[in-house]
């Protein structure tokens, strides 16, 4: 295991390194080194702000999850475009309360963001006990079916990605 003192957040360091190289938009030795230095230094300096960054359990599941989400965004955008251009009086908006099976703040955040990014649903609030998520839906027929869909398609893979 990588030493926690020497490199407290290896995942974050890797991300910062990638972001640096993308920002300068070229890969030369000096930027690779400078990026690595910053990626090592910044988590050290800001470590007090990151009380609990969860460790990823299954990286392959995370990639599969990202693939599913991107595809859903693509498909659902077309659906929502059709809803917007159709007659507004036909829409059936609803607030839906969804029970959460995740108990990790970071995982809940990822789930809420995913719900907001996939068109037709916006996460509106999380209950204080972190057990329920309030979701506003633009057009829904069967709210229970929607909850089952979100649970099966997004929450279940997240439970495998993050330790819960």
């Amino acid at each position: 295991m990588l030493g926690s003192r020497w490199l407290p957040y290896p995942g974050m360091s890797l991300l910062l390194w990638a972001v640096w190289l993308l920002l300068v938009n070229k890969i030369t030795l000096d930027h690779v080194l400078l990026g690595a230095l910053l990626a090592w230094l910044m988590p050290q300096v800001t470590r007090l702000f990151w009380p609990a960054v969860p460790r990823l359990r299954r990286f392959d599941r995370l990639l599969a999850f990202l693939g599913v989400v991107h595809w859903d965004i693509l498909v659902a955008n077309v659906t929502v475009a059709r809803l917007i251009l159709g007659p507004p009086s036909k829409l059936r908006p609803a607030f839906v309360e969804m029970p959460l099976d995740l108990d990790n703040d970071f995982a809940i955040t990822v789930l809420a963001n995913t719900i907001s990014l996939t068109p037709g649903t916006v996460s509106a609030d999380v209950s204080e006990d972190r057990k329920t998520l309030l979701v506003h839906v633009l057009d829904v027929d069967d709210a229970q079916a929607l909850i089952r869909h979100i649970k099966y398609r997004y929450e279940r893979p997240l439970r495998e990605v993050f330790p819960c």
């Binding site: 475009a81 507004p88 990014l117 037709g120 509106a124 506003h136 633009l138």
Partner: protein, 110 residues
């Protein structure tokens, strides 16, 4: 630049622009605050995605090397857009902004 590259770039940008336009139409046309929230969050996904794809292909072809800087725009959008939508919804519920009649379910105020 090859003609097929120009075509691909044009199509990507046009598709992106159409979705941003639809998002804006939704913002103007939908009936209550919560429904309007859906317009902008949508435009930032596929609309920005199409525009970014066009930019990515254009600059990669122009430089003759892969340009991935645009990926960062997607990353930052995907982090910030849902959070701002969430905060807007939370603020609207706190101010008890009215819903369209026929909306099922109750907003919270906590």
């Amino acid at each position: 630049m090859e003609p097929w590259v120009e075509w691909t770039v044009s199509i990507a940008i046009l598709v992106g622009a159409v979705f941003v336009l639809v998002g804006s139409i939704g913002l103007a046309r939908l009936q209550d605050f919560y429904m309007r929230l859906h317009g902008p969050t949508k435009a930032t996904t596929l609309g920005a995605g199409g525009t970014i794809l066009g930019s990515l292909i254009f600059f990669s072809a122009q430089r003759g090397a892969l340009s991935l800087q645009e990926v960062l725009i997607t990353l930052f959008l995907f982090i910030t857009a849902p959070v701002s939508a969430h905060m807007l919804a939370k603020a609207a519920m706190h101010l008890k902004i009215g819903r369209r009649s026929g909306t099922r379910g109750e907003p919270w105020d906590q």
